[in-house]
C-alpha cells in the first residue's frame, strides 16, 4: 500500500507479524491466545452498539473503542497462531465455545448504556494496567503489541470515566442506572485478577494478573465514589473463562461472530 498522506506508521500490525518469520513459543502462544480472546469478545460486544447507542456520536465512540480492541485481538491471535501455523481467522472463527479463553466480564451482554460503560471502565483499567506492564515483556513482539495498545486503552479509560461521572452525577435516575450497571458487572472483576493458568509457563514474557490488582483498586473505587456512586460489594462470580467456562450468553454471541466465516469458508471480501 502506498499512502502518500499523513503519518507513515512504523507500529506493529497483524500483517507485519504474519509476514515476518516470527514464531511464538508454545507457552507464549497459549498466553497470547487468552489475551487475544479477551479483546476479540469485547470488541464484538461493542460492535453490537452500532446504530443502537443513545446518539450517533456515541455509536462512533463505542465503535472506535471496539475497533481498537479488534486490532489488539488481531495482533495477539496472529502472533499466537505462528506457533501452530494458524491464521488469526482460523483462531477467531473456527474454535468452539469451550476453546475460547476469554474472561467472563467481556462476554456479558451489553445491557443498557450504563451497564456497557461499567463493563468498559473495568475492562479498560484492567487492559491499561496489563499493557503498561506487558510493554516491558521479555517477549519483544508481545511488548510491541502492548506498547501500541496502551495509548489506545488509556483513551478508553478516559471515555468510560467521563460517562461514569456524567451518569453518576447527572439525575437521580441516571445515577440509579449507573449504579445498577456497576452492580451487574462487578462480580466479574475478581476473575480478571485471579490466577491465569497460562502465565507461569510463559515466564518473563507474561504478566501475572494478580500483580495488577493494587493499581485497579487504587483507581476504580476512587472513580466510582467521585461520581457519587457506591463501590459494589456483590460476591464474585465463579469465573473460569481462561479454562473455557463461559456464561450462557456467550454461545449466541459466538455464533453470530462466526456464522459468516463458517457458512463461506475461505471467503474474502
Amino acid at each position: 500500500m502506498n499512502h502518500s498522506n499523513h503519518v507513515v506508521s512504523s507500529a506493529i500490525t497483524p500483517e507485519s507479524i504474519a509476514d515476518s518469520s516470527l514464531v511464538a513459543s508454545e507457552a507464549v502462544a497459549q498466553y497470547a491466545l487468552g489475551l487475544g480472546d479477551d479483546a476479540l469478545v469485547l470488541a464484538h460486544r461493542l460492535g453490537e452498539w452500532i446504530t443502537n447507542a443513545p446518539e450517533l456520536e456515541e455509536d462512533v465512540a463505542l465503535g472506535n473503542i471496539g475497533l481498537d480492541l479488534l486490532g489488539h485481538a488481531r495482533s495477539l491471535l496472529t502472533y499466537a497462531g505462528t506457533a501452530w501455523d494458524k491464521s488469526e481467522d482460523d483462531l477467531a472463527y473456527f474454535r468452539d465455545e469451550a476453546e475460547f479463553r476469554s474472561h467472563q466480564l467481556f462476554e456479558q451482554p451489553n445491557g443498557d448504556f450504563a451497564a456497557t460503560i461499567a463493563r468498559q471502565l473495568i475492562a479498560s483499567v484492567y487492559f491499561a494496567e496489563l499493557y503498561r506492564e506487558l510493554s516491558s515483556s521479555a517477549d519483544a513482539t508481545l511488548a510491541a503489541i502492548a506498547a501500541k495498545a496502551l495509548k489506545e486503552v488509556d483513551y478508553h479509560v478516559d471515555h468510560s470515566e467521563q460517562w461514569l461521572q456524567r451518569l453518576g452525577l447527572g439525575t437521580e435516575y441516571s445515577r440509579q442506572r449507573m449504579q445498577a450497571g456497576l452492580d451487574a458487572m462487578w462480580p466479574y472483576v475478581d476473575e480478571l485478577f485471579g490466577e491465569d493458568p497460562f502465565v507461569a509457563a510463559a515466564g518473563e514474557a507474561a504478566i501475572d494478573p494478580r500483580t495488577l490488582r493494587p493499581a485497579f483498586d487504587a483507581a476504580v473505587p476512587r472513580m466510582i465514589t467521585e461520581a457519587g456512586l457506591e463501590v459494589p460489594t456483590a460476591p464474585a462470580a465463579r469465573g473460569g473463562g481462561r479454562s473455557g467456562v463461559h456464561a450462557e450468553a456467550f454461545g449466541p454471541m459466538l455464533a453470530e461472530l462466526q456464522v459468516l466465516a463458517r457458512a463461506h469458508p475461505g471467503a474474502t471480501w
Partner: protein, 102 residues
Amino acid sequence: MTSPGDSGGRETWPLWEVFIRSSRGLSHVHAGSLHAPDETMAVRNARDLYTRRAEGVSIWVVRASDITSSDPDAKGEFFESPQGKEYRHATYYTESEQVPHL
C-alpha cells in the same frame, strides 16, 4: 440567535462546531459539527469523528449557538460592494521607476 440543529431543549444534545489544526504552525480550520452533552465530551467526540486518520494535533469546539454569523440574505450589501473597486488591490497600481525596494 439559535443555530440550526440546536433545539435548546434538554432532551437533545446541543450542536457543536469543530475546528481542527492539522499541524503546528497552521490555523484551526472548520472540520464539521457534532452533538455532545457538554464541551468536554464534544472534544472527545470530535477526536473520534475527525482525527481517526491522523488529521490533527489540536481540536477546538464551540457551541454552535455561540457563533454569531453574517446574514446569508444580506449578501449584497455585505459582500458585493467591493466589486468595481480594483484600486483596493495592490496589483491595481503600477510600479514607479523612482521608488526603490518595491
